[in-house]
């Protein structure tokens, strides 16, 4: 066994002690060393829980302090951090909330929103494409150009389907949660998150809009998105309607300054 291998094992063992408060310290440790380890354990636990708290202030307010703390502690125990930035400690907290609050999935959707807003807030700056610029770029497009066109979006744009009214929840939270709104949606909708200047923001849209945006973000062409929206075994009318829908969605993405560029693959 090499010397550095010995130190490696020592660091792995020390880390395991820090992460697991219930693990007994090695039997050869003095009471003073054991007390010192308690300091590191407390420092670690308070730092990572505080990181979850600072990322999910609205989820915390929605849940109340006791329930949120339980969830945060469960999350950091189940998912000890591995990345260099403490911001990442909160990654996957929406899934933790989905497990813990399985009877109230609005909590998980709210946590997803806050995580997505954090991502948007620290994403790279990019200049959005104006309607006019888009019009100039596509002025000479033929049918094939439109079909093959792919879009580039603002860094940090995120989208998902929703079962709950995040807009109503967010408004209620902004008003100090004096009244809890009805959260369940009659039909699924969608949410798009992005950054306006320096402020993360979101809007609720049709579920089909989110499906199209997710596909566009994944690199699907405009023509493929139209086919996706039309559905399987679509007839000419359905394809026409899908193209109209896709056009309206594209207009909304441009209107909200989500698009930064386009590529026409001929």
């Amino acid at each position: 066994m090499t010397a550095s291998h010995t130190l490696l094992q020592a660091q792995q063992a020390f880390m395991a002690q820090v992460l697991d408060e219930d693990q007994p310290v090695p039997s050869h440790w003095s009471p003073r060393q054991a007390a010192g380890m308690d300091v590191y354990r407390q420092n670690y636990r308070s730092a990572v829980v505080e990181a979850v708290v600072s990322t999910y202030e609205q989820t915390r307010q929605w849940l109340g302090e006791a329930a949120f703390q339980r969830a945060a502690i469960h999350h950091v125990i189940a998912h000890p951090p591995s990345g260099w930035t403490i911001d990442d400690v909160g990654g996957g907290f929406d899934q933790t909330c989905a497990q813990i609050f399985a009877n109230d999935l609005a909590v998980a959707e709210l946590a997803w929103l806050e995580w997505s807003m954090l991502g948007a807030s620290r994403a790279a700056q990019a200049a959005p494409m104006s309607m006019e610029e888009f019009g100039q770029e596509t002025a000479q497009f033929g049918d094939d150009d439109w079909a093959n066109m792919t879009l580039e979006f603002l860094p940090g744009v995120a989208a998902r389907e929703l079962q709950h009214d995040l807009h109503a929840m967010w408004q209620a939270l902004g008003a100090g949660l004096q009244q809890r709104p009805e959260t369940a949606l009659e039909t699924p909708r969608g949410c798009i998150v992005w950054r306006e200047d320096e402020r993360p923001t979101f809007m609720m849209v049709d579920a089909a809009n989110v499906a199209a945006l997710q596909s566009a973000l994944a690199g699907m062409s405009y023509g493929e998105i139209c086919v996706l929206l039309a559905g399987d075994d679509a007839d000419q009318q359905a394809l026409h309607d899908a193209a109209m829908s896709a056009g309206a969605m594209l207009g909304q993405w441009l209107q909200e300054s989500l698009v930064v560029g386009l590529n026409a693959k001929i």
Binding site: A3, S4, T6, L7, L8, A10, Q11, Q12, F14, M15, V18, L19, H28, R32, Q33, A35, G36, M37, V39, Y40, N43, Y44, A47, V48, A51, P80, P81, S82, G83, W84, T85, I86, V89, S121, R122, A123, A124, Q125, P155, R195, E198
Partner: protein
């Protein structure tokens, strides 16, 4: 590797609470220091604020996650992002801590202690060499506060730091509060610590507050959440009287952050003690 010329002055950490004050450019400091990791992102408001602050003040970038003592080496993504920040800001210097924070599987987000052994020294020196080569400039490393010692210890912390600077060409960020905290926790002499260091390698001093903890207050913890105590001010005066070259001194406050005038009053106290010490040196 280039050298870091001495820079004399008094500064504060740039914290969100005081962003507006600093951006007004009215704060009488010679530099500001930021936590590197808070700005190692692709974009957004914090980076814009930092760039605006940089236009008004020299900036030091001070990290907590390099993990210079990790046997498994440094994180390449971390180094790339630190380099991007360094190139964007052109700081006075880049610093981190003599500690480790990560294994390949986990990150503690706390500054964990190293055994003061020759094995650990080899690891630290190899990692510092890699960091220096990646950044293209030498760094400062800060003496940590610690709460355990190890049976494997083969030297005093000041001997470890001395050998580390000699072998790598790095510089020292002397945290006077950390010396006090570790001296109290482990029972060594803070004066011996200062006397054993290569003080010509010191480019910066940190001052901060600490908190007693434990059933019998048997540990003191480096909390940065209160004012600098009298004993630490005394140790600062001693250190300044032993350091011949100009150094940058700053007050570190990361929790319970008070209004700016409170921190400026502490910085004035540092100025007075440094002035007294320099008068003694030149007498």
């Amino acid at each position: 590797m280039t050298s870091i010329p001495p820079f004399g002055g008094f500064g504060l950490g740039l914290r969100k609470t005081h962003y507006a004050d600093f951006l007004d450019g009215e704060v009488e400091v010679d530099f500001v220091e930021v936590i590197s990791e808070n700005y190692m992102m692709d974009g957004g408001k914090p980076l814009r604020v930092l760039e605006e602050a940089r236009a008004k003040y020299p900036v030091i970038i001070h990290g907590v996650s390099m993990s210079i003592g990790s046997v498994q080496g440094l994180d390449g993504d971390y180094l790339d992002r630190l380099k991007q920040l360094e190139q964007r800001i052109d700081p006075l210097w880049v610093s981190d801590h003599l500690c480790w924070t990560r294994t390949s599987a986990h990150n503690s987000h706390d500054l964990l202690p190293l055994p003061l052994s020759h094995q650990a020294l080899d690891v630290v020196c190899d990692n510092i060499d890699r960091a220096h080569n990646h950044l293209g400039r030498p760094m400062l490393f800060e003496n940590p506060s610690s709460y355990v010692t190890f049976p494997e210890d083969e030297m005093a912390e000041w001997e470890f730091l001395s050998e580390m600077t000699r072998r790598t060409g790095c510089y020292l960020l002397l945290d006077v509060n950390n010396i006090y905290v570790s001296a109290q926790n482990h029972g060594f002499s803070a004066d011996d610590y200062l006397a054993g260091l290569p003080l010509d390698r010191v480019r910066q001093i940190h001052l901060a507050g600490h908190t007693p903890r434990g059933e019998r207050n048997d540990f003191i913890i480096d909390t940065h959440d209160r004012k600098v105590c009298d004993d630490v001010w005394t140790l600062y005066g001693t250190a300044r009287a032993m350091i011949a070259q100009p150094v940058a001194t700053m007050i570190e406050r990361d929790d319970n952050i008070p209004p700016l005038p409170v921190l400026m009053a502490e910085l004035d106290q540092a100025r007075r003690l440094a002035s007294d010490a320099m008068a003694g040196l030149s007498a």
